[in-house]
Amino acid sequence: MQAFFEKQFGGQRGRDGLMALLMGGPAFLLLVIFMIWPFIRGLDLSTTNQRFDGAAATRLDPWYANYDQILSVNLIQLPDVPDDVPYSAPRAGWYRARTPDCKACEDEFECEIGAEGDTICANNCAQMCEKGDLIFRWRGKSLGEVGLEKWADYEIARNFSLFGNQYAIIAKDPLFWKGLMNNFYFALAVVPVQTALALLLAILVNQKLPYRNVFRTMYFSPVVTAMVIIAVVWKFLYNPEFGLINEMIEFITFGQVKGSDWLQSSTMAMPAIIIMSIWQGVGFQMIIFLAGLQDIPEDLYEASGIDGANMWQQFRFVTLPMLRNTMIFVVLTTTILAFRLFDQVNVMTPDGGPEESTATMVWYAIRQGWTQFSVGYASAISVVFVAIVLIISLIQRSIVREESALDR
């Protein structure tokens, strides 16, 4: 082998080449085995109906059928709401959900003795019951019954009313889109907040405080703890009745503010996971910022101090520009990590949360492949997921490039 390299590249260079291959080899090998090869297999599987059940897999016709299922979305107008909305669900069409108040009201009949001595019972629940949500129900291929034959394969992802008409965003696989939206929600909340918080903490622990190493260790310790363990602990903290967080909220506000249902509520489940994720991940970014801060030469601060810059101006015009590259790195990695959201979701809300409010793309891929055994479909979801993350990273990088071009 060495002889081969020496012959090809001659003496020293050949030996370096061999050395480089030896040193890099294990890493390249692992990359090929655990990243590149599975991705190629995933691409291949995504065009089949491969299952875990051992049922024979066949190539789909057309080959992009899985992708079509995942990506098909459309906007349609729904039939008008009838004047008399039923309370029990039809196979297809509008109905009104019974609220608990409505149910309670209907259970209590108000009876009085009529003029002829007979008992007349009535429950005047109309007002109470009209507060129920209007729901458009849609079962299987029953769309023909309401004149929407064309969209028989679609399901409603979300419907809304505009200028008195009812519209719906429909998709062949609404849960994928829900997961995608949840991913964006998570990333848009986590990336800026976590980055800002990490910078703040880094500046804090960079001060010459006594015991600052204790603080650094404290902020960093969640990062080295397994996410699954943290998620289990936080699940208890978020318990609506006995959890520490609600007890603290009530204690601090002298019982004036009631705690939230957190993981049991469709509006608070994702914020709960966001808060916990920021707490867990912020230490990692803090360490990177800390390294960046310590790289800034002290004389820049001295010079700006002599020029009369105050603390804020020093931060704005010395610290921030000098941390530019660190910032880019932190934002890029945090974004990718945010889109990979899975562990905490799967532990804290294994079924995707209330009304699928914490379902994410990775969660959905694993759900399809692992629980529902649809390996082919799950592979297609993963490929779409990689493509989306890739596009977002490329957009971020191109924005960063443009800015550096302006700097010059």
């Binding site: 049922a55 079962r139 079924d351 629980t371």
Partner: protein, 423 residues
């Protein structure tokens, strides 16, 4: 070149020596997977494996314990990867899916008439697919309401004597209302074991939906759940069940429900036989088992439990059978069920057990299993989807999500799975 020569030498030594070492062992290895259930089950099985290995001069059982939470997923993954063990246990209703996938071999060629005659009919029914027997278990399950007798008496709630005078829906509701008056401030009325994951929800609430008049799948065709799991009867169950949470009678976020029952914070606990020993230790004679209520279409309860099968990947089916035959010995069945409180699968063991005799603590389980109250879970290859769908739907109901929409989603999960099976 020197290094190469050394490598070849090592390879030769390994190639020559390895068969010798294997041959020296003399016993054939039989791989086995089992779920890590309760401690008492593990201890009993460990002991039985050890004694089997000591007694057998032909086979050596090599066990591997797999976490229970996603046991089924791991089995399916192993099947796809061709890594299945020789013998494995699994939760009853999965047998239909495994047979459909060709993961198992039938036991008919091995099992003796004598053994078959002693096994509970419910166990045979559960393990039979297409006229062949595929699995056998050491125990069946019992499901009902565990109750704190003193608290029921305090609330003036009637305790049913047997299946004949079980609670009706109205009586059950009245009992819950009455019990709400006696529970301590940090307590609640009924525990539904919301700390469990996975199979529990299908096993426990499928029978209740059935008693309401619905079902988890159309049992005539096994082709759809539409109109059955989301029909008016199932919706009635959903609204009633959700009401228990809205009234604060039950909680979807218990921290330690076992302790809540043991320490008198909750008077009713909907759970299976596996809680018997824990509850009995804590409550003693204050513990009473209440049969399944009649929600309108007769009382219905669950059945079936963990079963043993031989996989199609097994190269030593005789060894695998020798082990299953061994654990089905009356002494071993008794050892297991004494530990975990389950219903022994052998009639001879059942009859000798005072707990299952009339007046015994668990007599109701025996009656539920032998008197047509117990209904097996849906015998379909789509069962894994039913399990997932039920778990999602029951949790959604408990959280207060729209009843119809939650049940519709469950039907979609099941029906789309059936669709992929048909392809």
């Amino acid at each position: 070149m020197k290094a190469l020569r050394l490598l070849v030498l090592v390879a030769i030594i390994v190639a020559v020596a390895l068969p010798v070492t294997v041959a020296a062992q003399d016993k054939q290895e039989v791989s086995l997977w089992f779920h890590s259930g309760q401690g008492s089950e593990r201890d009993a099985l460990d002991d039985q494996i050890t004694r089997f290995n000591e007694a057998s001069d032909m086979y050596e059982i090599v066990p591997l314990e797999v976490p229970e939470g996603n046991y089924n997923d791991q089995v399916k993954a192993a099947a796809l990867a061709g890594e299945l063990p020789c013998v494995l246990d699994f939760d009853g209703p999965n047998v239909y899916n495994y047979v459909f996938s060709g993961d198992l071999i039938p036991l008919d060629a091995h099992v003796s008439e004598e053994l078959l005659a002693d096994v509970l009919p419910s166990i045979i029914a559960q393990g039979t697919v297409e006229g062949q027997l595929w699995s056998l278990g050491q125990f069946d399950s019992g499901l009902g309401l565990w109750a704190n007798k003193a608290m029921l008496v305090e609330a003036g709630v009637r305790i049913p004597e047997g299946l004949e005078d079980t609670w009706t829906l109205d009586e059950f509701n009245a009992a819950l209302d009455a019990l709400a008056g006696v529970v301590p401030e940090d307590g609640y009325v009924i525990d539904f074991k919301f700390t469990y994951e996975g199979e529990w929800y299908s096993y426990a609430f499928g029978p209740w939906i059935r008693s309401f008049g619905g079902d988890t799948i159309d049992k005539d065709t096994m082709a759809t759940a539409e109109g059955v799991l989301n029909g008016p009867e199932a919706v009635a169950f959903g609204e009633w069940f959700q009401g228990l949470f809205e009234k604060g009678y039950a909680t979807a976020t218990p921290v330690d429900p076992d302790a809540d029952f043991n320490e008198g914070r909750v008077p009713l606990s909907y759970a299976g036989h596996w809680m018997y020993n824990t509850y009995k230790d804590a409550l003693g004679d204050n513990l009473v088992l209440i049969p399944q209520p009649d929600f309108g279409n007769g009382a219905v309860t669950g059945m079936g439990s963990w079963n043993w099968s031989i996989t199609s990947a097994c190269e030593t089916p005789d060894g695998a059978w020798a082990f299953i035959d061994w654990i089905m010995q009356p002494d071993n069945v008794k050892q297991m069920t004494d530990g975990n409180g389950a219903v022994p699968s052998l009639i001879s063991v059942l009859e000798a057990d005072a707990r299952y005799a009339p007046g015994g603590d668990l007599y109701l389980y025996f009656r539920q299993l032998t008197e047509d109250i117990a209904v097996p879970r849906a015998a379909t290859a789509a069962y894994p989807a039913i399990s997932t769908a039920m778990s999602d739907a029951i949790n959604a109901l408990a959280r207060g999500e729209d009843v119809q929409a939650s049940l519709d989603a469950a039907v979609d999960t099941i029906d789309s799975y059936i669709e992929t099976l048909d392809q």
